[in-house]
Symmetry: C2
Subunit: 398 residues, 2 copies
């Protein structure tokens, strides 16, 4: 019998999706589950995106250009990024099969096997698998829940730099913590990247989900960082088009974009129907984002307050995205999250949340933490938080 | 300045798409180009696929399951593969972002960096890049145009096996040659795989494009090969849905499929709109495929006859897909293909074809060969062949 890959066998199952079989089983048994486990919100896509698909018809569906359709790339550069204060040319943007593929291309084009990328821990756990696909190691720089996951001092970050370090990756606003990197923090990371010749990879999938008054500051707005800056972007969260699988990679580094183009050609093209919908979505008006923001602020405010009101629970205040990482009064949050699905029911209902341990790579860190995605309406969140509180009471006495 | 990947820098630009800038330039100058360069046919998709999209509406577009929607996986196993004589379970099929992603998953889950995969040369050139993304090397087993690219003897194939060989990959029917592997040839390869514990990876993207009376014989129909057999499949060519980006990987090897599932989870899910259309397409009736076949047989017959009628040109008779590899009376087909776009015009028209050299990895092989995709209607093919003949005449006298 042929043996499967040795090097890949250490890849963990997705922390975000590993509990799904237990949830499926509970649903089969008639249990209602409040899903706070995955960043799949219930918010509507902009009308213009819906209309774009309605108006699309085909008799056959050919490939697009490997870099994406010209229309979509033009709309991104001339409309979306222009409005966001990011000046880029057509050759600086390449459309991908969502942010995941952007990351895959970057880990293959900017890194060699054995290279390292720094990430502020806790970080989006799929970075591990996507990096490992090119033998790249994610090296964690620890940040602390009690300080709201604030960026460590430059000296602390630089301690982790080795001759194999090729880049720093952040998610801004952060999945899983919801923290936003301020302009000053972005410039501090840029300084490190400049001094050590590192790529600064900024995953800005949640860029429209910022709940402070500060204007959003993108990696592409940092002066003098043209060769280092790489932006990972996605239509998934911005327009609630997760299933469309459309994102892009943006960089002014010509050699990098040329190499990424070769990978893009080898996979032929990004999904054409998704590109159609994403193109339509770019016409979304400010009012769309304003309404979404208002809704999420209400959800965030409710969730964080409710969490901190539960005895033994602590959540910092996240300023962006739709996640928060909270500490629970349990030893092993993974076991607790599983128990919620397999054993606990309150009037035939339970709640699904994600253990935070997989967002850490320092052993033992985050064991008592969970990621909560506040992707339900407030009345539903109320029920979910009530269930969580009762569950923690019961669990304590087991 | 940070340096880009050293190991990836050797990746060639796509042979199939590298001439596109010259074609774009010619089009800008008002030149009409007959595209015989890319496997993007003009055949209509089945009505049921078109209807599936028309009937689909959404207000937001969530992720699907990482393995694809249950509906699509069920339709594949219970309808499509069942009808094709392939008995597989639901867990044996995972929906991908087209055949390209199936290959990426396989090269990562079945191979380790430094491992080798055997391919019959000339082979689909993107295997090189997709394999290299995990440091896997494609080792060529040469086949000869004069024998119609027939499968070499087992002894010849086995000469290329080293301790690092982990699999054999074929494309059946073949892109670029159009040759079909008979049942006997499939069993011969299976024997080698069994004896040497190799994976047998069969890329069957063109399985519906067979122009002989023989029933198609899939890698999944080989008895006793459950652990070795991996099927790469795609809706792209079968239903002319190239832009939908939907394919699948099929295997009864549980450990392999579990590992592939981890990679699939890390990229979240395949495109949802594409899945909708692909699901609709599965209801395509026999009459659809029969009409497509009839059309391609006419195109193939015309093209091969016309090619062999041009002085100095030789093309074997391909039995499947919609390609043929032909020898031209030129020394360097790459230079000739480029010249067709940059210099040659016949009444303001020219033809675009693909140099075959990149489908070979043995240095010097295939230099005077091209791949021709007969993806136009016969009257158009006639004009294209006439242009090619005149171009070769002119080129000879340069």
């Amino acid at each position: 019998m042929p043996r499967i890959s040795k090097s890949a066998s250490s890849i963990p199952a997705s922390a975000i999706r590993m509990l799904t079989p237990f949830a499926d089983k509970a649903k089969e048994d008639g249990v209602k589950i409040y899903h706070l486990n995955i960043g799949a919100p219930d918010i509507k896509s902009p009308e213009c995106a819906v209309r774009a698909l309605k108006e699309f018809s085909f008799d056959h569906l050919p490939y697009s250009n490997s870099a994406g359709t010209l229309e979509l790339r033009k709309a991104l550069t001339d409309k979306y990024y222009h409005k966001a204060g990011i000046k880029i040319g057509l050759d600086d943007v390449l459309v991908t099969t969502a942010g995941s593929e952007s990351l895959t291309f970057i880990f293959h084009a900017a890194f060699d096997p054995g290279d390292e990328v720094l990430a502020m821990e806790p970080y989006y756990c799929n970075y591990n698998t996507l990096a490992k696909m090119n033998g790249v190691k994610v090296v964690a720089v620890h940040t602390d829940i009690r300080s709201g996951f604030a960026l460590p001092e430059a000296e602390e970050i630089e301690k982790h730099i080795t001759p194999r370090t090729k880049g720093i990756i952040i998610c801004n606003p952060s999945n899983p913590t919801g923290m936003i990197y301020s302009k000053e923090e972005m410039l501090a990371i840029a300084d490190i990247c400049r001094r050590h010749d590192l790529f600064f990879i900024s995953d800005e999938a949640y860029r429209e989900f910022c709940y402070t008054e500060e204007p959003y500051f993108s990696v592409m707005q940092i002066p003098g960082l043209e060769e280092n800056a790489i932006l990972v972007d996605s239509a998934s969260k911005r327009y609630n088009l997760c299933g469309a699988r459309i994102g892009c990679v943006v960089s002014r580094n010509k050699a990098l974009m040329e190499l990424i183009t070769k990978f893009a050609q080898a996979r032929l093209c990004p999904p054409v129907l998704g590109q159609t919908v994403a193109l339509g979505a770019i016409d979304a008006e400010d009012a769309y984002f304003a309404a979404v923001k208002e809704e999420y602020i209400a959800r965030r405010n409710y969730t964080v307050k409710a969490l901190n009101a539960i005895p033994g629970v602590f959540s910092p205040q996240p300023d962006g995205a739709f996640y928060t990482v909270a500490e629970l009064p349990v030893e092993d949050a993974t076991a607790f999250c599983k128990w919620l699905l397999t054993d606990f029911r309150l009037d035939g209902e339970t709640v699904m949340i994600t253990p935070a341990e997989a967002f850490y790579s320092t052993p033992g860190e985050g064991r008592n933490q969970v990621r909560i995605a506040y992707v339900l309406e407030v009345p539903e969140l109320k029920k979910a938080m009530h269930i969580l509180e009762k569950a923690l009471e019961t669990y304590k006495n087991l």
